[in-house]
Symmetry: C2
Subunit: 697 residues, 2 copies
């Protein structure tokens, strides 16, 4: 009796302790990859972001990263379970900046912000509602944190101040003190996750780039697009017929304008919003012939769709029991978490599109907004809630559709409106209707902290100036796209800048060797191809919103309409003008006044840029192009040129080349370039003869 | 063995059934008041909106309402528990409009909207984040629904479409059909409440006004302000001293401008944002003398404060253990759900303010926004979560502070920035920094569906026109307030409209008998004093955003800057111009072109408007004023004139008068007015001699 009483008493004490200290949870950090630790909190749900993405870490990629210890004081990481939710707290140092928390459009440093991470279209405010509200942040201090839960979580990114903090903010009297601040100093990131459990990851650096690399490598490494995905693309007006599209492809050839793939918009379907996924017999009487005709012109077709199934679709009846409780535009929302649902879709999409040569999809309308999408009260036969589905639908669609191509050993490259953590390896680029050129560039910068790709697509413009400025930007982005869906514009729609537009599209094509090698870094090292300045070594905690890096060597400083000049921050080391090779500056902010015809580009000292002659389309398997290698500055340089067949996954079995380009000063002080030999028998699409151009005199 | 097996088998079947039908919950509707039913779903939480408000129904008020049956088909109300949340669904008919869902600013009909009900400042969009996100809606079909849960709930107010609906929307092809609609027809209101349990109420009509009455009566009946609360008020510049304020009061007297109470802004405290709740010795060397001096001028003082306790406050140490885990502007957030916390605050506020004559408070900054307020990760010693506290803090503050005055048998009338369901009886008016005149009027209209009061306060204006138009509106609102906190404006700041401003302020004073009687309706019948047009009998489902009723008889159609004319909807029955008594129209939309000097007002046929001679301050207890009764139109009329001492709660013990004013046509066709005798011994502040004015010739 007494013993039992003591036991009960002790149990009550433990219970009370739990309640009194607000259910603080002991956290066990387990190393899962070099420099990556994971903790399991509570009982994680059967779906999460990474579970939805379903990718495995690219383990080999970690070998080249510096070893690193757990980057935070574990005692300062506080986890609580309370009120059916998980409360997380991570410490912050005084000078830290925070990058990430998904695809934000207006801000780069998120410290001090409150974000409600929620998949949605971007509504004009960086409040957490965006196409890819990735719950991952990178500290300028060189570590990162990912919260893996498919829930709407609330983030206080250094805005919440605890009574019990050891770093209290200074006290001011608003009545009399001008230094009073509406938002006092906070020493922590706090997050509220409405889930019974989750997994949380900590990534070591030491540099912010190393953090991002580890994040992308955990997510399988970055995606390597097919080469044709790096060429120019135009999306056709919505009601174009197959004849219209073939004519358009020929028109591009007449204008000698690059074009690798073409977007076929809603009108290809017999009904859209909701969709049938079936060709419209009137506008597309012969889909296979259409694709073949395009293919003969070297052009691939990318089909627009949303996933909502029309009652008129042949799939409707079979999918009805495999879909959510609510409709979108009268269409079923397929529960793509169900294998049977995926199987039916696969059979249809392969038969109707992929097996006749369709190269990929633009998967639209899966982000928001709330009035259109399935509501949070929707339920799905897989058992996942409307909220969970909202957070992972973009991931599930990317995973499903890309697997169809992968099974055919064929790379795809498409567009997606919703994504989330875990997407690094998916061959999809995010886009948006919101049309601020400036904010599109900020999104491009932020994409590098979120493991996603982003295109600042060009649609209409109000002036020739805006047109050329937008075209210049999009050619320095993951997808060089004109979206003429609504307005039927063409690259030459503004004759006064036709030359400049063609120049930059041509430059994009000439840079394919460099860009493709940059994506190879993404694939194997986890380095994002388009990068925030803060990911450049020696840049400190830069949170610039209007300039970025394309790969290791090219700094891009886009111009915006109405601006004749701009400021550019050049990191430590000398930087050179891309076009002239002249010294531009070092570790300083310079002012430039470029003309309308060029996008300002700068190359680091010793920077090597492998290029090729202009051609309208990306090299095809077996094709050999000439290598034109530029070198900038006075320093020696090295560059790993990557190549493979450009279209299959054979590279994963070793069918690829890594060739080292080197520039060194010889005994006489002259620059000389050298190329290592490609491994025999591996795909390598360059002629042996290399043209070396030393840009800096 | 076999029996046990059968039992287990049956249990599994039941469980499976629960899972398969998605945990549908049987709902038991219990009648709680005439025409009001309540259902308990799951295990309701220990705090809810109505629990926080802590009021009892005013049961007597129901006796005058028509009896009514349960207004919906119970089978069509679907409740589910799933994923730790409550899913609610209520049916909608084709033509129904939905009013309410809190204090919206831009829309009156909420059908088709998605709202995330969340206490916050108003951010420019009707998305559910507002000062009073009351989870109550009124259908134009004559019933209402209240969901009583202190949680952020998501409402799909006729936007979500189920696959299994019996009323599917029409299917369109967006490719080709111009009638395609982004938001197809929905036949239900659906709500997602992240709570383990809740209580839900259904209110019968038959009219929308009856629904609102029942709602307000469940919440104790509406508030009856002190008479002085209906007079004019100005809030002083923030750093005003006690001498400044007394001077200002005298200046109003010199200008012969109404002034009943004056707002004392942050500078009265020795520190603000966070607050000490202590007088600043420099600016207020003699608080008691200051209040006495104002009182001698007939003026009451209302003190601004926010609840956040400065480390410099004498209360700080004692309150530290009684406050939330997080600070706001370095101040403690008192956990006013704790009796001990309330007791300490009460002792301080009584001693320092109320016992020396302070008449009330403006309780600021308890709504949002997220970057300032306590975060959702905050915890409180009462055990309530940050989210729950966010939803109820305004209610708790109103309840606590008004109880202090009630215990002294003294009415108060103040300002509050956050409220929610259950607040009808609290003597507080909501205000906002957002400064759109138009949207302020829409908020006033919507306040009538939410059981709250709202003032379209006047601050700065860009022109004399804007100034007078705003002044005209605010004089036809629950609180006639000039907020000169930031800019030091005065009613006569625009000399070119000084006369018109004074005219409307004087009209406000003259209308006190009518307005006070209108508030008496609110108190005892639950009829909101300022009302949407859809609450007027025979107005159908009007969702007008720019005109409203003050009481039963006066239709207010405010003018906005830049507009010389406007349209006014006049409901069924004849309506007359308030100023001239001329017929304006009936059951039609009229166009008017009023001058700058008047706010358009219309009176219904037979409408009786009791008024009094202009005086700068509301009548004081014992004072007798002359009654001037206007009658409009040709019809007979009746009006219940209410009176009491105007300052105490003695009316609750019967110390009040209800006097009937009647106008009837005699045998000769002449209009004649009559007044019933007030009950002897009851407070009645009018002279026996009544001046009758028959406005319509």
């Amino acid at each position: 009796m007494t013993k039992a009483f003591v036991r009960i008493f002790l149990a009550v004490l433990v219970l009370l302790y739990g309640v009194l200290v607000q259910a603080q949870v002991a956290v066990n950090w387990v190393s899962v990859q070099p420099g990556v630790w994971k903790a399991v909190v509570g009982k994680p749900e059967s779906i999460s972001l990474l579970k939805a993405a379903g990718v495995s870490a690219y383990e080999k990629g970690f070998s080249q990263l510096p070893s690193a210890a757990f980057p935070l004081d574990k005692k300062e990481i506080v986890v609580r379970q309370r009120d059916g939710k998980i409360y997380l707290r991570f410490p912050l140092q005084k000078e830290e900046k925070l990058f990430g928390f998904g695809l934000n459009f207006q801000t780069v440093n998120q410290r001090g912000r409150v974000l409600h991470l929620h998949v949605d279209h971007y509504g004009g405010k960086d409040n957490g509602r965006t196409h890819a509200p990735v719950p991952f942040y990178v500290s300028s201090g060189g570590y990162g944190v990912l919260v893996d839960a498919a829930r709407y979580m609330t983030v206080y990114a250094g805005s919440a101040v605890r009574v019990a903090t050891e770093h209290p903010p200074k006290l001011y009297d608003r009545n009399t003190d001008k230094d009073w601040n509406a938002q006092p100093y906070s020493d922590a990131v706090e997050m509220l996750v409405p889930a019974q459990g989750l997994e949380v990851y900590v990534f070591a650096g030491p540099s912010p780039m190393n953090v991002v690399q580890r994040y992308n490598l955990v997510n399988g490494g970055g995606c390597l697009p097919p080469k044709w995905g790096l060429g120019f693309t135009e999306r056709m007006p919505t009601l174009s017929s197959q004849a219209d599209i073939v004519s358009e492809a020929k028109l591009f050839a007449q204008h000698d304008f690059p074009l690798d793939f073409i977007g076929v918009e809603p009108g290809w379907q017999s009904m859209a919003y909701p969709c049938t996924f079936e060709w419209d017999k009137g506008r597309f009487p012969d889909p296979a012939g259409f694709i073949k005709e395009l293919s003969a012109l070297g052009i691939r077709a990318n089909l627009w769709t949303n996933p909502y199934i029309s009652p008129k679709a042949s799939l409707y009846v079979a999918m009805k029991g495999l879909s959510g409780s609510h409709t979108v535009w009268n269409g079923l929302v397929p529960d793509v978490a169900l294998p049977r649902a995926r199987q039916l879709l696969k059979e249809h999409f392969l038969k109707e599109h992929i097996n006749i040569g369709v190269s990929g999809y633009k998967i639209d309308e899966i982000d928001g907004f709330d009035n259109w999408l399935w509501p949070d009260v929707a339920t799905f036969p897989s058992g996942y809630s409307g909220e969970q589905m909202r957070q992972v639908y973009g991931l599930l669609m990317q995973r499903m559709t890309s697997s169809w191509f992968r099974e055919k050993n064929q790379r795809t490259y498409g567009l997606i409106r919703a994504s989330n953590a875990g997407a690094s390896s998916f061959p999809y680029v995010i886009y948006d209707d919101y049309y601020s050129h400036r904010d599109f560039i900020t999104a491009l910068i932020n994409s590098s902290f979120a493991g996603v790709l982003w295109t600042p697509e060009v649609r209409a413009s109000e002036s020739a100036e805006e047109w050329v400025r937008r075209m210049q930007s999009v050619c320095f982005s993951p997808m060089a796209m004109l979206n003429a869906w609504a307005d039927g514009t063409k690259p030459w729609s503004f004759p006064e800048v036709e030359g400049a537009v063609k120049d930059v599209a041509s430059l994009r094509m000439q840079l394919i060797p460099y860009i493709y090698s940059t994506y190879a870094q993404y694939r194997w090292e986890g380095k994002p191809p388009f990068r925030a300045m803060s990911l450049v070594e020696g840049s400190g905690g830069q949170d610039l919103k209007d300039q970025y890096m394309m790969g290791d060597n090219i700094l891009v400083a886009p111009m915006f309409t109405g601006e004749k000049s701009r400021k550019v921050y050049l990191p430590a080391g000398k930087w050179y003008d891309f076009y002239t090779g002249e010294l531009a500056g070092e570790n300083e902010v310079i002012a430039i006044t470029p003309g309308l015809d060029k996008i300002p580009l700068f190359v680091r000292d010793g920077g090597i840029i492998p290029m090729m002659p202009m051609q309208r389309q990306a090299p095809v398997p077996g094709q050999k192009v000439q290598l034109i290698v530029r070198h900038y500055g006075k320093a020696n340089g090295g560059f790993v040129l990557y190549d493979d067949d450009g279209v299959t996954f054979d590279y994963e079995k070793g069918a690829c080349s890594f060739v080292t380009l080197r520039v060194q000063r010889d005994g006489n002080g002259n620059m000389a370039g050298s190329v290592s030999d490609p491994q025999p028998g591996k795909p390598y699409g360059y002629l042996k003869e290399v043209s070396w151009i030393f840009m800096t005199k």
